[in-house]
Structures are given as C-alpha cells and as structure tokens.
Amino acid sequence: MTETTVTPERPLVVEEGETRPGFIGQNVPRKEDKRLVQGEGVFFDDMKRHEMGFVHFVRSPYAHARIKAVDVSKALELDGVYGTLTGDEVAILTDPFFELSTPPGAHIKDYALAVGKARHVGDPVAAVVARTRELARDAAELVEVEYEPLPVLLDAEQALDDEIVLHEDAASNTVWSGVFDWGDFDAAVADADHVIKIERLHFDRFSSTPLECSGCLVEFNRGTGQWTIHGNHQMPGVGAIWMAPALRVGIDKLRFVSQDIGGGFGNKITLHPQFTACCLLARKLNRPVQWTEWRTDQHTANTHGNERTFLDVTVPVKADGTMLGFSVRAIDDCGAFPRYEPLGCIIWAQVTPGCYRWRNVRVDFTQVCTNKSPVAPNRGYSRMQHLWLTERIVDIVAGELGLDPVEVRKKNYVKHEEFPYETPNGCIYDSGDYARCLDIALDLIGYNSLEEKRRDAESRGKLFGIGIGSTLDSGTNNFGQSLILNPELQFSGNNEVATVKLDIFGEVVVTLGTVPQGQGHETTTAQVVADILGCTPDDINVRAGHDTYWNSNAGFSGTYASQFAVTGLGAVKGAADKLAGEMKQLAAAVFGCSPDDIELVESQARIKGNSEAALPFMALGAILNANNAGLPEDLDITLNVRHVYRPPFEKPDLERKFGNLTLTYATQIHACALEVDPDTGVYEIVDYAAVDDCGNRIHPQIVEGQVHGATAQALGAATHEIFTYDEEGNLLTPNFYDYHVPHALDMPPMQTGFIESESPFTPLGAKGMGEGGGAGIHAVCAALQNALGKRGEGPIVWRSCNPYHRVWEMLESPAETRKLVSVESR
C-alpha cells in the first residue's frame, strides 16, 4: 500500500494547518479504477439474461397532440416481436405517480406512458419488446398512432395565460407558485441611494448529459412478485417511493441494483416512468426486458435542467456599493411533467442571498409546464439558476455604477469572521472565506497583469474581458424544505446508511446506501474505515455499487445534492466506530482486560503498549463467527453493524418560510479571462482559475477532479450547450452533433486552488461538493459583459448561454439589451 500516490503537478494553494494523520486527506489509489481501465466495469447495458427482450419506445413526433388511437397489430405480426404496451394498458394497470405539489400541480396525472395526450416531442406513447434491438425498433415503426395535433405551448410566460393547457386535470399550467419575502425589501428600497432595475434575465435550458444514457434490465420473479431492476437510477430510494404505489405493490417488491453508472449529474433521478413501463412489460411477457436509451432519446425525452426567466429584478444599493438585497419575479419552466418538481421552487432558497450579506429579498416564484422535455435536478440544481441571478446582479450593478467587480464583491460578501452566518431565511452558512478564495483565483489568472493582457489582446484586434463567478455548493438537504411547498408532504431531514462487518477470515466489508456514478465512494470509504480500524484502505472491501438486498439503504439514499462526504461518510464513520468498539470488546474479552485498554493498529487489536498481546483481524473474525464457544454470555456483539447517519435538522417555520435548509456550504470562486473576436462574436477563454473550499478534503485528487468536471460542464453550458426548440416543439439540438459539449481542444488552460474551512457541523469536518461548477457560467457571462462594453455602455449579457451568434448580435445591436437595465439615482 502506497500512502501517497500522485501529487498534482500544478501548484496548489495550500492552507497552512495541521497535517492529519492517517489516510484521510491523502490521494490513495482509487479502488474503482482497476476494473474500469480494463473495461471490466459492469454498467446496466453490459448485462444479459437468457431469452431477454429489448424494449423500444414509440415516441410522439408531436409536441402536443391528443392520442386518438394506438394500433399495435402490425408490430405484433413481425417475427421476433414478443409484445407491446400501450398507454391504455398503463392507465388500467397502474395509478398515476404521486405529485409533490399542492394544487394545481397536485392534480397532474403522470403515467409510465402517455395516456390520452402526448405532451412533448419524444413522449413515449407505446413500447415494443423484441428479440433483438434492431427488431424492436423495426416493430416500433409499425405501431400506428393516430394523433390530433393541438396548439403547442413553448413559452413559460405564455403558459401563465392558460390559453393552451397541457394538463386538463390540473386546469392550469401553473405547477406551483408562492411569494418569499424576507427582511423588509420596501424599506431597503426607500433607504437606497441607487435602485437598479433589470427587466429580464434568462437562464437557458441545458443538461450535463451523462455519457451513459439511461436504462435498465428488469426481471420479474413470478413466485415472489418481486422485480429486480438492474438500472442506473441514481436515487432508487425515491424512485421506489414513486414506483411502488403506482404499481400497487409494497416497496420491497422493487429491488434496485447497480454496479457502475456512467455519470448521472441528476439526470438519472426521474427514471421512474420508463422503469415502470419496463416492470409492466417484464411481468406481462414473463421474460427479462432491457431498455437502453439512445443519445437522441436522452436529449429529447429524458430530462433537462430547469429553464428560468427572471423578470423585474430590482436592486437597492447604497452609495458606497453596499447592496441591500433584491426582488425578482421568477418563472421556472419545468417542461411537460413536474416529476421531481416543484422542489426546484424551494431548493434555490438554500442560497437565497448567494455569497452576499443581503438581508432583504423578495422572490415571487412560479413554475409552469410547457411542451418541452421534462426537467430533473441537473448538477447545481435550482441553486445554479439562482446564483447566476445573484452574480448577474452584482456585475450589472457594478457595471452601471462604475464599481470594481472585485471590490464590490468583497464589500458585499459574507465575511470570514461572520461564520456561522444566518441568512435572512434562516439558512446557516457553516464556514468559509470568500474574499480569500477570490484573491487566490485572481492571483492564479494573473490579475495583476490584467491591463497588460488587455493591451496585448487589443493589439491583436480582440476585445478582452475578465469575469468572476462566486458560487455556493449547498450540500446535504433538509428535505423538510419540501413542506414549505406542500405542508402535507411527509418528508423532512435526511439520512444515509452504511454497514460494516468483520468477516470470518478477517475481511472488513462495507456496503453503502449511496449509488455512486464516478465519485470514488469505494475509495474514500476505505480511507475513513482504515483510519478508524487501524488498517490500510487495501484491507477494506467496499462492495461496488448498490443493491437494496444489502439492506444498507434508507429513504433518502443516493448520490445527489453534494452530500456523500457528509451523509455517506457520516454513515460509514458511524458504522466503523461501532465496529471498532465491538472489536475492542471482543479483544478485551479474550485478553480479560477492559476495552479501553485495547487499541486498533496495524490490522490488529492489541493491548496498548504491548505489541505481543495482539489479535489480528483474522483472529477476531474467526473467533466470533466460527470459534465462539466460551465467549462471555453478556458479550452482545455481532461484528456486523449498520449505522444510519441523520444530520441535525429541524422542520422549517412554514409561515415565514424560514429554517436551515441544508447542512453545509462549500465555496467555489472562479475567475476567467477571455478574448472576443469583434468581427464574428467568436470568443476564447484564455485564462481560467477555480478555487474550491469544501472543508476538510478526504481525497484531494477526487475533489480536484470534481472541480475540473463541474467547471467543464459549466463552460459548455455558458458557450454552446443549449436545448433549443423550433416553433413546432422539435428539439433542434437532439444529440451531440448539434448539442456541442466541450471536447479536449475546447477546454481552456485551467488552474485550481483551494482552502479548507472545516465545517463545524459534520462528522469529518468535510462538506459535500461537486456542484459548484455553475461559477463557470457566471464567470463567462461576466467576462463577456466586461469585454463587450464599458461602464453604462454596451450590451447587457442577459442569457446564461452565449454562443457566438448571440455575442455577435449583442455587438451588432447593443441597444437591444442595454434597454433591459435602468438606474434610478437619488
């Protein structure tokens, strides 16, 4: 076992402080890698079963249409076709999935297949199962669907009129709406020296598009009535809560299994409709069925990130640049079905004032359905959209008032000495030092030689811009925030599970409730357990993946919302501590001493200070499991323990919409310099820095990898990645041909730095992280704004995604966007 493997080559900014003993904090080799680099991972599509059938969905070509008839007879005649499933069958065999919203959203009926109407292009209308993948697609083409096209609704603001209604049962397109009002916004406006108004900002639709598309292999056991779902659902606990009642079975009838998952990024949280269709097919046809989603399916009909329009943003500002808060009307477009929504209507409130000391915030929030793909909690979920708003506010205000974007940030940031800091809506920012992170980021991109770089760019005919993106990565949800949306819901707090056992030959075996998709859970788990049990990570067997049969899962199990380092490892630590206690008890019983006299070191339990009196793990495992005669009767241990980590949360105050919504706040401060070609609008990022503070880092290399990846996704979202629809509701970026994600050549030189502000609230002082990459979108928008215009002149960057053509349009007609902003000075 090597203790340290690779030191990153680039200089990292290291926080001075104690060096922690043990494996935590070290870059131990990832346990997952050996299988993955040999192509020996097991992803759902790698599995086969005897006589399995392949599922192909028949998808609506219409964005909005009544389904008048579905005729599967020709498909069934094709040799090799095993069977079909239609919306009519689904409506009989299942109940609609439960909705999280209060009315009108509560009345929406969402099924495994379209029932009665198709509501977006790609909406699955029927399913076919056949002997080969190709045949299934052939047969799907033979299913005849008679549609009556309906007017198409693609604009969220137009959706508010309810002239075209997607869900007649709800009688409105509004899923949820509510007003959040903290502090005294009117008084802040009265007290302000300047009031800046921004008419409109728009956060575009994109998704982090995991490279592995969704899918599952489902087997139905007729004897037990249980389905086994080998799939890549990244939050199967919640998936089961949706699916079991819909299928009218108990939750234990759904066994979810996954080993390796090819990225999730939140896009694999709402797979319950497709998985339910596969369960029905497996039962109906009495054979295993496999559904593999293809790229074009994923883009058109799986999930997108939330699209959000911000209207009438009003910002009161003091003469010295102190911002007092803001008000906004937000309209969130969740596409055709809410599914995980309307949680996005509250999740943003975890970061209500962004990184800033703003005390007066009023948000009028409405979420609507449109005839587009449904959404899901895409990495940075809902906070990213909101933080983009806060960052646009800071830069637009700075631009209009002639303030330095660095100084104005530092003036308004929550200060290091103010932590833990309570936001106006009761969230507790645990720790951090935003100004320091910003200084490091600026240092990394050579902020001191900025003017030189600007002159150099200008000499080459380029426009130069620099931008900052500050963001918070709030982790470990308090699901009690859902009560603010709907007090009837029975969700609050959070939990995660791990089990640890010492087996007969001395192996330490850990199972996790989390469903990893590349975050290295096996590795970091082994580090934590090794430090507690006094052995090395190599001695720890962490089972790969997830299986509800392991009984190491709870209601909120999964990998999402930046929480593994807190909830996942919290559970691991709790279980390992319990096991360590039992091992000491056992050793003490053998040696006839007190457990307090026992220490666990070098893979042994021994009497402190006496290396001769030692029991190797193998002996402990063997004694309890196979050689236990004569052990004291009152020795109540199993060497097989299960721990549920439960973060310390209260239910929020529903009246005031007030409370602690999340446990930790990691920080990401990014800085970016770019050059714009004024002839074409083409731009290139020339310097980039990302500074991360996620508290104690368990495995720095993994943390840095998360920073790189999240940043790449943000840069994609800022420059090219956008889901655009034509007026018929056809998605114009349905695959990687037109939806351009960053390639190796597209990525700018990237530097990373970090500090570690230990969280006072978590078992390891760590914070969940990985979702702060949105800072990249903010930084690029700010840098473009900086490049395109001087103070009070030039265009306003008002959309989150700015492909070249938008930049060119802004350069061509600056007045078009400039008119979005007005300043009232007193």
Binding site: P61, Y62, E141, D726, E728, N730, D738
Partner: protein
C-alpha cells in the same frame, strides 16, 4: 418554413389549370412517386420515396383540395407520414393570363416534424428549394405536353 415564387408558362390559363388540377398529371411532377391512388376528386394519396442522395425517405402523402376558384385559385393541404418525419404542407396558387401565356404565383407553408426536422435544420431549406424547382421544372413539361394534346 414558407416558400413562394412566381412562374410564367407558355400556355393558356385553362391548360395550366387542367394540369394543376389533375392529380394524375401532378403525380408526374413530384419526385420519387412510387404509387398514386385517387380516392375522390378532392382526395388522393401518393407513396413517395423522396430522393435525398444518401438514400430515400419513404413517405405516404395524403392530399386534400381545400379550396378552388376555377380557373385562378386553388389551395391544397398535404400531410405526409414517414418514419422519422411528418410533413404538413399548405400550398396555393393564383393563375392569371399574361399575353397568351399564364402567370402563376404560388406559395407553400411547409412544416416538418420528427427526427428529420431536428437533424436536418440547415439542409431542409435547400432541399425544399431543390424539390420545388424540380416540381416546377416537371410542371413546365406537363404543361407543354398538355398544350400539345
């Protein structure tokens, strides 16, 4: 997508009208028609394989005559169903006599749905133009033949 244009025919209005309103003759102007059924005088159906160079796009197209004011105006709706594409088209033409010949003003509003619409954005417009110019060329020929008979 809207396309429109004007065209001059060296034939009297009545001849042009007769060609434009005879489904059988019109079928000869459309590229890739494999079969053609006339259901009644207002409805007909064509099975076509639109030649796209890379391979054919098979489609069955239902035509319905929506409006006609002989001999100067007609409006037609066409709905095409193919795998990967659904097409809806409204097209109309105005005929007027012009010095012994005929002047035709035409327009068409074409809507395409399905994967072809998503994938072929930047090629649809040129392809539609291509098809239109082929149809018009063939129409010329039909008109000349009709004139000859």
């Amino acid at each position: 997508m809207k396309v429109s244009g004007e065209r001059q025919f060296d034939a009297p209005v009545a001849t042009v009208w007769s060609v434009l309103n005879d489904p059988a003759q019109m079928a000869k102007t459309m590229p890739g028609v494999e079969s053609f059924d006339i259901q009644d005088e207002r409805h007909w159906r064509a099975h076509v394989k639109v030649p796209l160079g890379l391979g054919g796009l098979r489609m069955s197209i239902d035509f319905e005559k929506m409006e006609e004011r002989e001999p100067e105006f007609a409006k037609l709706h066409a709905k095409g169903n193919g795998v990967g594409a659904i097409m809806n088209m409204d097209t109309s033409f105005h005929l007027s006599g012009a010095g012994g010949g005929t002047h035709m003003k035409w327009e068409a509003d074409v809507h395409i749905l399905g994967p072809v619409a998503s994938m072929g954005q930047r090629v649809l417009q040129p392809i539609v133009n291509q098809q239109v110019s082929q149809v018009l060329g063939a129409l010329d020929k039909q008109v000349q033949e009709a004139k000859g008979t």
